[in-house]
Amino acid sequence: MRRHLVPLLVLVAIAWGGVAAALAFGVTPVLGLDLKGGTSVTLRAPDGTDPEVLQKAVEVMQRRIESFGSVQEPEIQISGDYNVIVQLPGVTDRERALTAIGQTGELSFRPVLESSFLVSPLLVPGLLESTTTTTVAATSTTGADDSTTTSTEPATTTTTTLPPGVDPETGLTIEDDPTKEAWLAEYAEDGTVLEVYHVGPSQLSGADLDSALAGFAGGSTSIAQWQVQLDLSNEGAAKFQEMTKAAASYPLGDVRRQIAIVLDGEVVSAPQVNADVDPNVGISGGSAVITMGSGENQQQEAQDLSVILRYGSLPVAFERDQVQNVSATLGADSLNAGLVAGAGGLILVALAVVLYYRSLGLVTVIGLSVFGSLLLLVIGLLSRYIGTTLTLAGVTGIIVSIGITADSYIVFYERIKEEVRAGRSINAAVEEGFARAFHTILTADTVSILAAVLLWLLAVGPVKGFALTLGIATFLDIVVAYYFTKNAVWLMAGTRLGHGGWFSIEGASGRPVSEGAS
């Protein structure tokens, strides 16, 4: 008796208690974006992309999405060798989402008007040591004309009147528009602000660059240094000359002699125009070198900078493979439809088993509710701790698993009938029938689990979500059959519900269920 009662009660307690606790602590399944609205983007990098580069791209996207604001639980993952899947639940503005992640960043070269511009006390002066050891070396010849094009209008640094578009918390421009002045920061690797620059409108864009290569070479000075060699287009060369001419008109050490390289509203580097550049000419000839220094750090810096100059912020040019954008209403409709279909299916199955199997049907109904509770619990826990989401495909997987679970009961009950017909007592029939039925259930379920695992490992996209719920459901089916169903039926067999046709088994008691023995 206890042998049967204890595992049964433990499992029911885990299932129902667990669900109650989960609901109380808010551990519920997190809905996928096809159920609550949002945008999902699959990007593909060109074949042969280095995994490290892909990882870097993902980091950049992560940062961009964070700056995007109001995204609940964004998810970026690398799938396969060249795919990146970005999930933005709740983001229904497709174009903005795509701009944020898919496009290579906007690169601009801008004159520095001021640096270490402080608006907020958050920017502690101690952080404001210039770490840029960079200078722009000239490859120049003489020209004519002396015209400084600096439109320097230092903004008021008073605390009260903030320039438009500046965040009062950080003192930085919120959304950078390259055609306007902006207050932008240069960040250290750990995300702390190194320096804040007040920069003018863009005078040169990434499109004006033909190439940027990092290398180790002797510059104008005799010491060999890490450097980035820039090659500009014809149009770019003229703009660059104009720009450097203006910068060179300021004395060495003046911040206005620096040129800020800005990417996605962040200052990447702000090299100073070299001492030997003629302020009347600027840097002409369409090429320039940014020297970084000779240390190992400088090597990394030079390489990073050259990558940024070449590709914008994303080190890879991605192609949009799939963009799925689900409006909030469509998501809610799908969820409702899934719930209605699930509930309807469950009620129909419950009716059918109760009508056919009577008291055994009742065991099935309770068993299904234990199964459902466990499933909800497991999916909720997975959502919480692994970050899986419940998608529409997952919901359909659950609905399908209702049928497969019901089958385990049917296989078992038919088995009991057979044993009873063979002349066994009902308790013996339950024991023996279960042993036999469980062998069948285990074999058949293994095939299902095999399918689920392989799909999960090999398939992409929505199929994964389906495979996950199917696999969990099938596994729980085995657990419930072993700990709940067997024991519940055994216990019931000992009560009045096990007799007199309640079990729907002829011969289980004196009274036959259907007329006429053959």
Binding site: R44, D93, R94, E95, L98, E319, D321, Q322, V323, V326, S327, T329, S334, N336, A337, A341, G342, G344, G345, V349, A352, V353, A393, T396, V400, G403, A406, D407, V411, E414, K417, E418, E419, R421, G423, A435, R436, H439, T440, T443, A444, T446, V447, S448, L450, A451, L454, L455, L458, A459, V460, G461, P462, V463, F466, V513, S514, E515, G516, S518
Partner: protein, 349 residues
């Protein structure tokens, strides 16, 4: 009632294997029709497989097909596929794959003509190579799965059962795709998922029958294999019927809800394939996998010997029309229906 009663008690004695000619005719007709349709009509693959852009939007402006076509003409997209859903309350417009900029313009145009915001639309945009990739992965998954199943079933049951099961599975898959080809329903990723489910279900159903066959083989004593298969199928017939019922009920619920509830198109796509597949799966474990196994096994030396001996015994007996029946009748007293003590080699306890 008497049929129900016999079914109920598992006492039916249908000669499933003997009816294999009928099954063969039914199955080969279905397969032929499916294959011909697949060859000549092909499948209506959704844009997820060939690339394209689809917009779904509510339609408060009540725009008709003509209005949408007109609005899309300046973009050179007048040949887009335009559908009105839910009595014109919703619009669904599809085009071929577009450049990112064109795609954005397309979405804006549809939103404007429908009188809604771009942010309230649902958009599916798929690059032309993405579908090939999905298909590739799905086929890979399928091949690995089949290999794993053959190994597993060969180990747990036996290899001839594994291949009979796979044959039934292939049969179900071809017929399901055939139904999609004939009806012209769109094949979407949801359909693929459903078909993968059928894969599992079809085998699951076959495994339940074969598990019983194997159990009966172990218990049997000098009975033709065909009779064992027949007996096993009769024993699990009620289970098959009930299981199909309990599997089809939730799927039917999906179909119903999918057809009548707004925004449940994915559910509908899913449910149709499941419905066809589960029906085919139940049929094929009885009509394809089991007869195939029986015919195959009867060729084995051990089983031909048994059959020959039994035929000699019954040579003088009057032979009724059914071919597989007389030995079955003869053998019945000797078969273990469970009433006789089980043989010592019991696998599970």
């Amino acid at each position: 009632m008497s049929l129900m009663g016999r079914l109920y008690r598992g006492e039916t004695s249908y000669d499933f294997v003997g009816a294999r000619r009928a099954f063969l005719i039914v199955s080969s007709t279905l397969l032929l029709v499916s294959v011909v349709s697949l060859l000549f009509q092909g499948l209506n693959l959704s844009l997820d497989f060939r690339g394209g852009v689809a917009v779904e939007a509510e339609n408060p402006a009540g725009a008709g097909v003509g209005d949408v076509r007109e609005a899309l003409a300046p973009l050179g997209l007048a040949d887009a596929r335009i559908q009105l859903l839910a009595d014109g309350q919703e619009l669904r417009v599809q085009t071929e794959a577009l450049d990112p900029d064109e795609a954005d313009a397309f979405v804006r145009a549809v939103a404007t003509v429908a009188g809604t915001e771009v942010t309230d639309t649902s958009v599916d945009e798929v690059g032309p190579t993405f579908g090939a990739q999905i298909t590739e992965r799905a086929v890979l998954a399928l091949v690995v799965f089949l290999g794993a199943v053959i190994l597993f079933m060969s180990w747990r049951l036996e290899w001839k059962m594994a291949f009979s099961g796979i044959a039934a599975l292939t049969h179900d898959l071809i017929i399901t795709f055939g139904v999609y080809s004939i009806t012209g329903f769109e094949v979407t990723p949801a359909t693929i998922i459903a078909i993968l489910t059928i894969l599992g279900y079809s085998l699951y159903d076959t495994v339940v029958v074969f598990d019983k066959v194997q159990e009966n083989v172990e218990a049997a004593d000098r009975v033709p294999f065909t009779d064992i298969v027949n007996k096993s199928m009769n024993q699990v017939l009620m289970r098959s019927i009930n299981t199909s019922l309990t599997s089809l009920l939730p799927v039917g619920s999906l179909l119903f809800v999918g057809s009548f509830l707004l925004g449940a198109r994915t559910l509908l796509e899913f449910a149709l394939a499941l419905f066809v597949g589960i029906a085919a799966g139940t049929y094929s474990s009885i009509g394809v996998a089991s007869p195939l196994l029986a015919v195959w096994k009867e060729r084995e030396e051990e089983w031909t010997r048994i059959r020959r001996r039994l035929n000699r015994v019954s040579e003088d007996a009057v032979r009724p029309s059914g071919q597989a029946r007389p030995p079955a009748e003869k053998a019945r007293p000797r078969t273990t229906t469970g009433a006789t003590p089980r043989p010592p080699k019991k696998r599970r306890r």
